[in-house]
Amino acid sequence: MHPAFSVLIFTVTSGAGYGLLAWLGAGQMLGFTQTYTIGLQLTLGVMAMVLITIGLFSSTMHLANPKNAWRSFSRFRTSWLSREAVFAVLLYPIASVYAAAILWQWPMINLWAGLSMAFALIILFTTSMIYASLKTIRQWNTPMVPALFMAYALMSGGLLFVAVSGFFGVLNPQLLIVVMALVVITLALKMVYFFWQGKPTGATIQTATGFSQASVRLLDAGHSAPTFLNREFGYQVAADFLLRLRIVMTFTVFMLPLVLLYWVFNSPEIVEVLVGAWVIMMAGLLLERWLFFAEARHVVRLYQGDQRT
């Protein structure tokens, strides 16, 4: 699949935003943000919403005919993309009431914190289901995709949460352990995904052409220059290059931030390091999302000459 840069930015940036919002809501309900000033809570909330908004604006950039984007709220009952759009817009009034509840310390604040967190998680799930529901791309058509998307968001949002908390000097070291655990869990999940993805399975050129008992080779694709289908689905990167990028991705998303988190855990006076860890993780996540697209092989490629997906 061709990695559209606007979609990479969208899923990574707004993912971190929703993760941060989920952490803020959880902090309110579980009580680990009780020592936070109103200003700090609002700062975290506004940061989350800014990240989300940047992502959502970026996502509209890949539309070829954006003047009809408003119609995307209309198929809530069938389309995951429509569900995502509806929940993403509904979150704004809910988050606004939550912000007001923080500012004026309303007694109902736990309700709004909980609703904001629930919507953030629901939106992450709907986004991931856009990919996971496609039977045409076996690398995406797995429950691991929603699990990974939510894990990435909670991990990157959590790291930003502790980084900002640490920057303002109210960091609880136990939260560092939670974030480190999230990094380890997500890493394990990603490794399982990589092993699962390596297994050859699914449609082949035989089932695509109906000649199930013979070898089939493409003689002529039927066009002299690349088509929309080639550009969208025929994205090809050298296998050894992909492998190298996987290693770089594993270090930037998981290993380096984990080392930095552990370092801060042992010597809390250098807590500013966490901001750097978050930047490294976000850059790594962009690479991860690029790989998510570049490694996905659509079945249309079988008609363009691939032997298997």
Partner: protein, 228 residues
């Protein structure tokens, strides 16, 4: 009604006339122009609703060239319609034709991702998705003589490899052909239940064994020695 096409892979010669006729009809049809990019340039590109792929099936010397024209299969379980967030993609209840409302499409590409057959192509000019209409603006047109109320690709096919009809009617030509020639769906394991079926090539006639008399054998041997 369940309208669709039967394509005979035995007689299709891969001439691309169906694709050209399709482009010619539909570029001025209900879904507006099918735009081209750099039509006279080095690498011309554009939206087509029908494309022909040629394959070598089997191993030499027992191989065969098979041409497979691909257009929308008007699937019974059309995921392209399910994923569409704007409601631009829809499947008609009365005849099962899958269409795109050009006025509603926002060009998000998701339906083309959901289609396993590459039937949907984004028009770079209008920014909307284009696909086979089964010539919905022809097949119901009562201004046309009845014999011409068929998709452009079917009418133009020089080897009559394409047949249009109603698969719900067991006595229609498409149903009979599918039944008699074991017509099959492409990539059935994905579960889209495509309506269009493809008739596999007939088995080649068995070659009778050539008997060689002893005298002919000697002559062949001498000829081979002299040629050398």
């Amino acid at each position: 009604m369940k309208l669709g096409l039967v394509v005979d892979l035995d007689t299709c010669v891969g001439c691309h006339a169906c694709a050209t006729a399709c482009k010619q009809w539909n570029t001025s049809g209900t879904i507006g122009p099918l735009s081209d990019e750099r039509p006279h340039g080095k690498d011309p590109s554009g939206s087509w609703l029908n494309r022909i792929h040629s394959y070598e099936v089997g191993d030499s010397p027992h191989s065969k060239t098979v041409n497979i024209p691909m257009s929308c299969m008007h699937c019974e379980t059309a995921d392209c319609v399910t994923v569409c967030p704007t409601g631009a993609s829809y499947k008609r209840e009365e005849d099962g034709i899958v269409l795109i409302d050009q006025d509603k499409c926002m060009g998000c590409n998701l339906c083309s991702w959901a289609c396993p057959y590459g039937a949907r192509e984004l028009d770079a000019d209008s920014g909307t998705m284009k696909k086979c209409t089964l010539c919905v603006d022809r097949i119901y047109d009562e201004q046309l003589p009845e014999a011409e109320r068929q998709p452009a690709c079917v009418l133009t096919c020089p080897t009559s490899s394409r047949v249009f009809g109603d698969f719900d009617d067991p006595d229609s030509q498409v149903s009979k052909l599918t039944r008699e020639r074991a017509g099959q769906q492409l990539m059935p394991e994905l579960g889209y239940n495509p309506v269009n079926t493809y008739l596999p090539p007939r088995n080649p006639k068995q070659q009778d064994k050539i008997e060689i008399s002893p005298m002919q054998g000697v002559r062949q041997l001498v000829n081979r020695i002299i040629n050398r």
